[in-house]
């Protein structure tokens, strides 16, 4: 029963493609998977926007959307209809073609990144040997779309937003990729499926071998997550669209459906990088404890994804935004060195074994590097809490 | 038809286009674009020969292309930095403006 539930979608796909001729079967399967991904994550996008608004509202002691549908959960449908029926305004001076292509150029690579995510056991739409590279290659293409949007609008704010976005995405690309190299080193594979399989609990062990359970893995996970925040332009790294400074950044001149596409691409990017974080560090679809193996694998994946999304929302409700130079400093002077330190640490871990020796050697390195780099980052700007005096009288 | 031929013709055409552009365009950035296209054409021929060529070594062509990509990235970075410096001095990116040795 558990196994059937686990492989439900795989069987379904097999059943759908089996009568087709051999030559086109993989392509049809890919197309069906893509459609399923679009449908599932499209729905996720809608629900996440509502959940985010409700959660942030609660953090701010408000009620949040509660009018459309039960508890306001159909708000996204209302918003969708609204954006679809809105007038699509293109500025007269805009570069019409590029302006039109930009949202598509943003959405397509983001959707492509989902193809290599293993959503469950045997549930990878495109099980490439170089899956991780595919993920990063597709992710890197989004920057160009952001530039296209910002430049073609012929708006100074959007241009500033695009410049910020590109600088930020380029800078965070490095720690984003570097933090995963440790995982690749340890598992010896670029294939996402193999990386997940390597993290399953070994026979006889009760705890899974998730990378996040190791000192270097924890640090790399945090780095990856921070970089994912930056890559998906989420607070506190939402400078490219910083509404209080440059109004809406690169999509300031987009309205109606095209704006919805940008919005959707942002959320899908958040899902895909969270999904990759789950895959690389949180064991993908594997259960954390061996005795929980009976839970269907895709439930684990989506559960972990949900936890990460909740974290994204929580952070958004809390933090102010960084400034551009601080953002750069953080990427180049804190995250990049830390990522570089984590790499040899992972190697040491590999040779010291996963016992107490590994912990003893690697944990101090990671913590020490974190503390020192953090202190130098803060100390250089002389940032500290202050005490205040009062007038004499 | 020999499948190597269309691939090579694409590479040759790409190279010719890149060369024409690099010679004709005056904007330094576009000249650089032309050079990139030529490099890519060369890369394509490497990969084609790796795939279909008679060389028994299975990886040399691939490796050459890989290194070529790395070199192209370095070349682009330095070239664009030079263009920025040129722009700072001359307030233009036209190559015709860079006609003296002294800045």
């Amino acid at each position: 029963m558990a196994a059937t539930l686990d492989q439900l979608f795989v069987q379904l796909l097999h059943g759908m493609t089996a009568p087709l001729p051999e030559a086109i079967r993989p392509w049809v399967a890919l197309a069906i998977s893509l459609g399923a991904i679009l449908a599932v994550f499209g729905l996720c996008f809608g629900i996440t926007t509502v959940c985010e608004r409700k959660a942030i509202a609660r953090m701010q002691n408000r009620l949040g959307p509660n009018r459309v549908g039960p508890y306001g959960f159909l708000q996204f449908a209302a918003d969708g209809i609204k954006t679809l029926t809105k007038e699509d305004i293109v500025p007269r001076t805009a570069d019409q073609v590029v302006h039109f292509l930009a949202p598509l150029a943003l959405l397509v690579p983001v959707v492509l990144t989902f193809l290599v995510l293993p959503f469950g056991r045997n549930m990878t739409a495109m099980d490439l040997e170089v899956g991780l590279l595919f993920f990063f290659a597709a992710g890197a293409s989004t920057e160009l779309a952001v530039f296209m949007a910002g430049w073609s609008s012929r708006n100074k704010y959007s241009l500033l937003g695009a410049m910020r976005a590109i600088a930020q995405m380029l800078s965070y690309e490095l720690p984003f990729i570097l933090s995963t190299i440790g995982v690749v080193m340890i598992t010896g594979a670029l294939s996402t499926t193999k990386i997940v399989e390597a993290q399953a609990a070994a026979p006889g062990e009760w705890l899974a071998r998730w990378h996040v359970f190791t000192p270097w893995g924890l640090a790399a996970f945090l780095l990856f997550l921070i970089a994912a925040f930056a890559e998906s332009n989420r607070s506190p790294f939402d400078l490219p669209e910083g509404e209080s400074e440059i109004v809406a950044g690169y999509f300031i001149e987009y309205s109606g459906f095209k704006f919805a596409l940008f919005f959707m691409a942002e959320y899908l990017g958040m899902f895909s990088s969270s999904g990759m974080a789950v895959t690389l560090f949180l064991g993908g679809w594997t259960a954390p404890f061996a005795f929980l193996d009976w839970v269907p694998s895709w439930m684990w994946f989506f559960g972990k994804l949900g936890v990460l999304i909740a974290l994204f929302i929580w952070v958004r409700g809390t933090t102010p935004r960084l400034r551009m130079d601080q953002l750069m400093d953080f990427a180049w002077k804190f995250m990049l060195p830390l990522a570089l330190i984590i790499l040899p640490t992972a190697a040491i871990w590999h040779y010291a074994g996963r016992g107490w020796l590994g912990w003893l050697v690697t944990a101090p390195i990671v913590v020490g590097a974190y503390v020192l780099l953090g202190r130098s980052l803060v100390g250089r700007r002389r940032i500290r809490q202050r005490s205040y005096r009062y007038a004499a009288t | 038809m020999n499948p190597i031929v269309p691939h090579l013709i694409v590479a040759v055409l790409l190279f010719a286009i890149g060369m024409t552009g690099a010679l004709a365009r005056r904007n330094a950035i576009l000249t650089l674009v032309g050079i990139e296209i030529m490099l890519n054409a060369a890369n394509l021929s490497f990969v084609v020969f790796w795939r279909f060529g008679p060389n028994p070594d299975p990886q040399t062509g691939l490796m050459f292309a890989l290194f070529s990509i790395a070199v192209a990235a370095a070349e682009a970075a330095v070239g664009l930095a030079l263009i920025i410096v040129l722009f700072r001095h001359r307030r233009t990116t036209s190559l015709d403006a860079a006609d003296s040795m002294k800045g």
Binding site: L63, T318, L377 | -
Partner: protein, 218 residues
Amino acid sequence: MLGIGLIKGLAETGRNFVGSYLDPDRLVTVEYPEERLPVKENFRQFPFLVFDGEKADIGLRCVACQICEKECPPQCIYIEKSKDKKPDHLGKPQFYPAVFDIDISVCMSCQICVEVCPFDAIKMDQQFELSTADRFRGLLLTRDRLAKPNSHFQAIHPRDAAEIDMRRVDERAKAEAKAKADAEAKAKQATAAAPGATKAVASTPKPAAAPANEGAIS
């Protein structure tokens, strides 16, 4: 260490997230059209004209003295004095406003007109849902739409209304006493001259003032 402040902040928002479900002091939102806060007694929004009794055109307290028109800071009141006079609650003949318009779109509900009115004739209402689709007629309130009975005033400002009603009862009692005294004096002076006429003058305002009396007592 880097990140401590951030974690503190996350803890704080987390506590507020949970607290908003548990602590009514945190979740202060009132879902307006369905839920309404009780209106505070002092709350003021847009003036109205008080009238005594049942009918507005008889019991209107306003005597068209135009002080409020002069004092109104945004000058949103427009008054035209009547040609004829009507007796007020004391029986004295007074002018009344033939036209009394207030423009909602100009009025800033500052209550100055109420303060300067010597006749307690204009008071602040608490009706705040004044939006209308008609930009011109709908926003210019004429005398008939401004006039509201004293019972309305008693309902929304019980403390003020009680005080004013008491005062008016006193005033009227005094006036009646004075009228009586005058009448008696007159009666004494002209011993057998038309006793019914004075009675009629004194009794005219009675039906109009009667409800005000009841309201003040209850």
